[in-house]
């Protein structure tokens, strides 16, 4: 029987000394836990690029990072075809640590001891991936990005850029000023996550309040239906009969 392939590890931390310390520690562990460091990343975006470029077994992920915190990165990682195990690292973050305990999510406290890292790596291969639900609960605010996968590549869509979200069969179409993306999420979930940002105008459509230019009666039909007109894209979205009241509400504000 051949030995299992060495564990492929990705190190994610915004501080260079912390990454180099982690590299040293991993080198110390390598004798007992066969592993190979496949890369390091200084922020969430780079981490997702690295992890989608090739399958990774374990991601050592700092919690507090600029632009996108580790918890959000972990959520996007779970949407990959081969979601990696995640071990969070943090110097001090009382809130996150309590939550990790509650959800039995593995984490390491910086400064990290080699022995503790070895344990976590040994467990990582067999450990269950953190549940998306649990990670969502951990997130202090809503995610800053939606993530779409296309041909193995991850696209991060800043939520602020979204004009509307439209449910279609098992996907949701995300429209930005530039283009459309397909994401695998439920419209109800998105509505729940961003109650301030989006408003439901139709059973299958959420519209960003900021993106609305105005409302117009549709040209077709005798008693024209209201349609949402956007600032940054030519499409229009019909307001369903049941949601007509929002035309008045939004026009007022």
């Amino acid at each position: 029987m051949s030995a299992p392939a060495p564990l492929s590890v990705l190190v994610v931390d915004d501080e260079a000394p912390a990454r180099s310390r982690m590299q040293d520690l991993l080198a110390d562990c390598a004798a007992d836990v066969p592993l190979v460091i496949v890369g390091e990343a200084a922020n969430g975006r780079l981490a997702l690029e690295a992890a989608s470029a090739r399958p990774v077994d374990v991601v050592l992920l700092d919690v507090r990072m600029p632009e996108m915190d580790g918890i959000e990165v972990a959520q996007h990682l779970q949407r990959l075809d081969h979601p990696p195990s995640v071990i969070f690292t943090t110097a001090y973050d009382a809130y996150a640590i309590r939550a990790f305990e509650v959800h039995a999510i593995d984490y390491l406290l910086k400064p990290i001891r080699a022995a503790r890292l070895k344990e976590a790596l040994t467990r990582a291969r067999s450990a269950a991936r953190p549940k998306l639900e649990a990670l969502r609960e951990l997130q202090p605010g809503p995610r800053a990005f939606l993530s779409a996968q296309e041909r193995g590549k991850i696209h991060l869509i800043p939520v602020g850029d979204v004009i509307y979200l439209k449910a279609e069969l098992k996907y949701v179409t995300v429209r930005t000023a530039m283009r459309e993306y397909l994401i695998e999420e439920s419209l109800a979930r998105l509505e729940q996550d961003y109650p301030e940002r989006f408003v439901r105008v139709h059973r299958n459509c959420l519209v960003a309040r900021q993106a609305i230019h105005g409302f117009e009666r549709s040209a077709e039909g005798a008693e024209g239906q209201w349609e949402v007109v956007f600032k940054a894209c030519p499409e229009r979205i019909a307001v369903s009969r049941r949601q007509q009241h929002i035309v008045r509400e939004l026009a007022r504000s």
Partner: protein
Amino acid sequence: MAGSINHKAYVRALPNFRNLGVLLRILVIVNIMAAGVALSRSGSLANIWRETLEVSSVVQPAVMLSLVTLVLLNDVLRRAPYLWGAVLVLALEIVVVTALYVFGRPLFPMQTGALAAYWLITVLVTVALLVYFDLRGRALSPALAEARLQALQARIRPHFLFNSINAVLSLIRQDPRRAERALEDMADLFRVLMADNRQLAPLAREVELCREYLNIEQLRLGERLRVEWHIDNMPQDAMIPPLVLQPLLENAVYHGIEPRLDPGVVSINIYLARGEVHMVLRNPYEQDGDHHAGNKMALANIRERLALHFDAEASLTTNVSDASYQVHIVVPYQKAGTE
């Protein structure tokens, strides 16, 4: 020291008559008393304005003259033991009132033959004020003891401590000399943090501390943290409460630099203008930044300590403009040893 009150475990002392807050308090209290007298003398409401004017025209010159004398003799009075100082103040007031009575009668409506009555009122008002300042000093002295504790709690985030230790650990194998320097900086920083910080300290020392702190942060953040110092016109010997700037820099790094992907500049500008020391810290700031609560706590803490040391003469203002956050502190310029 030059605060409005004394800061060791409480020792009775006269207030610092050169402090604006103290002068204002004297002025307000005396005028309230005068208003009371006018009110009691005027039998009816119709008379109240006439009475107020009359009382005031005697009281105002007396107060003004007293304040000028006290300001001039502040050092002499405060150097003397408390009781002697208090007796001196009383004697001074008697002299002031007598002088006004003798030389100022043609100018002010003072009643002839009432010198003894004026003396009695003067003694009563002066004693009342001395008792007030003594009580105020007692009330604030535990606050000062606590200020040290509060200062300890509000500064240095555990986040900073553990990340710094981690950064030093990373250096030990690759660059032991840099690791040594970093640990030296940390030792200095923590020595100050754990010291008794109730006394004022020279500005130059605070600036040195800030440099050591920023060295450590630079180690962690590298290129992301850029620091600009504008301190050529800084009065090195100005005395300020310790740990006024360092916690603000810590906030600047935590809220201004760490949440950014791109490098950001923290600028420190210290200068002297019209007898006041200005300290201006600026850092980049994004509207949707998090953790405002910690920042507010540190600011409240520093404001409180400035007030304890300088009363109304110090100020701290914050300002958010074009993606930058600014804290502006003004304290009176006091050199070491000036009481």
